[in-house]
Symmetry: C2
Subunit: 150 residues, 2 copies
Amino acid sequence: MPEILRTVGSIARALDSIANREFQQVSLTKGQYLYLARVAEHPGIIQERVAELLKVDRTTAARAIAKLTKLGLLEKRADPQNKKIRRLYVTASGADIYPLVKRENDYSNAHALRGFTSDEASQLADLLARVDANVAQDWYDVKSGKQREY
Amino acid sequence: MPEILRTVGSIARALDSIANREFQQVSLTKGQYLYLARVAEHPGIIQERVAELLKVDRTTAARAIAKLTKLGLLEKRADPQNKKIRRLYVTASGADIYPLVKRENDYSNAHALRGFTSDEASQLADLLARVDANVAQDWYDVKSGKQREY
DNA sequence: GTACTTTTGTTGTATTTACAACATAAAATT
DNA sequence: AATTTTATGTTGTAAATACAACAAAAGTAC
């Protein structure tokens, strides 16, 4: 069984460091770019769902989103049907910054795939999507308190 | 150009959450398992090198290793040739815990690859290794202060 | 051999992150 | 309809993480 965990971790941390450095230019602190991008791409999403997309703790997402809201990049709107949830949207300022985030992401993605044929790249994307689905299941289980058995 | 960044990030965060939960049982706090494993597998490594393997900041690695040393799981030894560096080794207690870390890693890796043929799995590993090499280059550049040009 | 640069390590500080515990609306069960 | 369970959100707290700035040993260039 080949090892993929560590390689995935290494790639993810490297890309995240790079992105965080880059976004200091627009006064985004660590990790904030993730939330801004997800809300921009899923208008009306609620924070619980953002946490699941990103696989971060609910309270982490809550605080990141609270901060972005305070900074005026995101806004929360009440839902007419459901008094519990608050739907998320980018503000005008958020919409100004989003293209920078998108551009950096695209650039990093392209660089990560340097030397790949388009067949190889789409093969990789497919395989990763399957891994993601597998791992998401385990993540939900563990987050909801299930005990692992070896 | 297919998207792999986000999928990689999602997989990495999910696996890391799961591992961190698991290792609370042996009183390892967030991220510590990474350092213990790397030192166990590279006896005599220095912390600068550990940071590069993991793609974390030097000071983060320094503090994590300091803590593991204080906990008695790792030890630092002087090098006879070089007064600046401190070589890292697992202690007896560290060696006791390492197999648990290894087992969890192997288990998670196997679960992440559920439903993969061995051809698919090794193909994925190869493609990821290439991405890792690409991204490592960018990481070194950014960490050493190089400016990106779009 | 002296000056300069790089490597390795540390400390101060601001910030994110996660867990636990709580609150309340919504949904499901009886 | 009342009760129980789940979903969503918040706050308190402990800890990791990264950047900036510093120190000192090692390596390099003249």
